[in-house]
Symmetry: C2
Subunit: 338 residues, 2 copies
C-alpha cells in the first residue's frame, strides 16, 4: 500500500490530524512542527489521496470535459487550454468523447458527476430537458450552445459570419451558398441567422445547403451541388467542410478562388496549412476553454448559486487566399467556350 497520512504521523511523532492540518490548513500548525512533518512526508514520498479527501470535503478537485469528437481539429486547442487552466487551479480533468451520441453523453455525465466538481459541456447534443434534469446533480458550463439559465461561453460566430458576407459582397459577389452543419448545432443556426440577415442587407442571394457532415467528407459531398448551383462564393460550417469542398470543386475543374470563393470557420491547423490558405472565421477556442474553466470553478465555489453568466467571445474574419473577386463573366469561366 502507498504511504498514508498515518505513516507520516507515526514517523514524525504527531497525531494524524496534525499531519492533515499541515497540508490543508498550514497556518493552524506550529511552524516547527510543520517543517518537521513536511520533511518526513517528503522523505517518505507521501502524496495526499485526493479521492479520500473528497469524501469528507465534498470537493474532488476534478473537472469533467465532454466533447463531441476529440479528433475534430476544433477541439484539441480547447481541451489543451481548459486542461492547462484547470491544472493551474490545481484541478485534474477527465476528458470524454461522446461520438456525437446524446445517449452516451448523458451516460457519461451521470457516471462522471460523482467524481467531479463540475462539468464542461462543449457543443453538447443533449436535449434541453435532459440537461435541465442533470444540472441538479452537478454544476455545468456550456460552450457553444445557448441554454437559458446555464452559464455559457459562446464564440460569436454570427458576428464573424456577418463580416464574411460583407467581405464577399465587397468583393463583388451576388450569389453565395451557406453549407450548414449538423441539425442540432447552435453554431450552424447562428451562422444561418446572421448570414441571412447580412445577405439581405447587401442584397445578396443566399442559397442554404444542408445539413452537412462537419467533416471533409461533408464538404466533398457538397461539391456537386455547389458547382451546379451557380454561386460564386460559399461560407462553410467549418474548415474541414471548406477544405473538402475545395477538394471536390478542384476535382470538377472549378478553381478556388478563381471561380468560387470559399470561407471556413475555426481557423484550424489544416486550414492554415492548406493551399490556397483558407479564408476563415477564427474561433477563440483556447480563450473559450480557459474562460469556461474559470466560470465553472466560480460556480463550484459559489455553491452553484451564482447567477448564470453569458460570455460572448469575439470572432474575426481572417482573409487569406481562398476568396477573391468573382470572374468578370459571372463565374464558371472554365466552362465557358470561346
Amino acid at each position: 500500500m502507498a504511504v498514508t497520512i498515518r505513516d507520516v504521523a507515526r514517523a514524525s511523532g504527531v497525531h494524524v490530524s496534525t499531519v492533515s492540518r499541515t497540508f490543508s490548513a498550514p497556518h493552524l500548525v506550529n511552524a516547527e512542527t510543520r517543517t518537521r512533518v513536511l520533511a518526513v512526508a517528503e522523505g517518505l514520498g507521501y502524496r495526499p489521496n485526493r479521492a479520500a479527501r473528497a469524501l469528507t470535503t465534498g470537493r474532488t478537485h476534478n473537472l469533467g470535459l465532454i466533447v463531441a469528437d476529440i479528433a475534430n481539429p476544433f477541439f484539441p486547442p480547447l481541451i489543451k487550454a481548459a486542461q492547462a487552466q484547470a491544472r493551474e487551479r490545481d484541478y485534474h480533468v477527465f476528458v470524454a468523447d461522446t461520438d456525437e451520441d446524446p445517449l452516451l453523453e448523458q451516460e457519461l455525465i451521470e457516471t462522471l458527476c460523482k467524481q467531479v466538481d463540475g462539468v464542461l459541456l462543449c457543443s453538447p447534443r443533449l436535449s434541453n430537458r435532459v440537461i435541465e434534469r442533470l444540472r441538479a446533480q452537478v454544476p455545468f458550463v456550456v460552450v457553444n450552445r445557448r441554454l437559458k439559465g446555464l452559464t455559457t461561453v459562446l464564440m460569436d460566430v454570427g458576428q464573424g459570419a456577418g463580416v464574411a458576407v460583407e467581405h464577399v459582397a465587397g468583393l463583388g459577389h451576388r450569389r453565395m451558398a451557406l453549407l450548414t452543419g449538423p441539425q442540432s448545432s447552435w453554431t450552424s443556426e447562428e451562422m444561418l441567422a446572421a448570414a441571412t440577415l447580412a445577405a439581405r442587407e447587401r442584397d445578396i442571394e443566399l442559397v442554404v445547403m444542408g445539413p452537412n457532415e462537419p467533416t471533409e467528407q461533408g464538404g466533398l459531398a457538397a461539391a456537386r451541388a455547389v458547382a451546379a448551383s451557380g454561386v460564386t462564393a460559399v461560407l462553410c460550417y467549418n474548415d474541414l467542410v471548406a477544405l473538402g469542398l475545395i477538394e471536390g470543386l478542384r476535382e470538377r475543374g472549378v478553381d478556388v478562388p478563381g471561380d468560387v470563393s470559399v470561407i471556413g470557420v475555426d481557423d484550424s491547423l489544416p486550414g492554415r496549412l492548406n493551399r490556397p490558405k483558407l479564408t476563415t472565421i477564427t474561433m477563440p477556442t483556447a480563450a473559450a476553454g480557459r474562460m469556461a474553466v474559470d466560470l465553472l470553478l466560480a460556480a463550484v465555489n459559489a455553491g452553484d448559486a451564482g447567477t448564470p453568466t453569458l460570455a460572448r467571445l469575439e470572432t474575426h474574419l481572417v482573409v487569406r487566399e481562398s476568396t477573391a473577386a468573382p470572374a468578370r463573366d459571372g463565374g464558371r469561366s472554365i466552362l465557358t467556350p470561346t
Copy 2:
C-alpha cells in the same frame, strides 16, 4: 447531498450491505430483493460513488493519459481511441498535457497516481531514472519510447523510415536529408538509425539536420538549410515539419515535388488535406491507443506482476503527391555515369 447507498437501503427496507451487494455482487442477493432495490435506486436516482468505492477496493476505475501536446495532430486520434476503449471497459480517463516539460510530466504523474489504477505515457520526455522511481507507485504503459522492463507499445517508425529511403532511392535520388525531432524523442532516434542504415545500403548520402521543433515552425525554419544543402529529398520528423518545410521551400521558389521530394510521418489530417498531398509514414495511433489501454488494464488486473510486454505496430509508407523523381538537371543523380 447526493443520494447514497444508505438512502436506498432505508427506502427499500434492507441493510446497506445488501444494497452494496446488488451493485457489486448481484449474484449474492435474492432476485426479488435485487429487483426491488434496483427499482428504488432507479427511482431515487442513485449512482454509486466510485471514489468512495475505490477507498475500500483499491480500484479507482480511472486511468491517466499523459501526452506531450494535445494540440499536436498526432495525439487526438490516440486520445480518442484510448478513451473509447477505456469507457468500454468501464474506465474513465484523465487527460493531461505536459507541454513537453519533463518536470510538469513528473508532477502530473505524482498527483494523478493516487486517483488512477494506471497511467498511459505517450512519448514521454521523462528521464529513465525518474520513470524507474515512479513505476513503483503505479503501473505504466509507455507509447513510443523504448524503456526496458516496462510494457511498451511502439509504432515501428524505423521500418517505415527504411521503406521511405528505399522509395526515394527507387525514384533516383542520391542525396537526401533527415530532419530530426526533439532530442529526447525515441521516434526521432529510430528514424535516424533506420534511415542511416537504409541509406548506406542504397548508397545514398544522408544529411542529418536537427534537432527541429516538431511543428510547422520547425519545418519552416529548416527550409533555408535544406535549400542550401542541395539534397533532392527530405524525410521529416513528422507531417507538421514536412508541411512547414514545403511552405518554406515554396517561399524560396523551390517546388515540391518538382525540385525536392518531401516525406512526413503521422498521416495526419493536415497532411491528407494539403496540396500536394503529403507522402507520409502512417502511424497506427488509434490502434496503439486501444492496445495500450488493454495492456495497461491487463497489468492492473495482474497486480502489475505480469511480465512486461513489447508490442510493435507496423507502419506503412503512403505514397501521395509530395515525392517524385528528381529533376534531371538538378541532381547528379540518375544520369550520373559510372
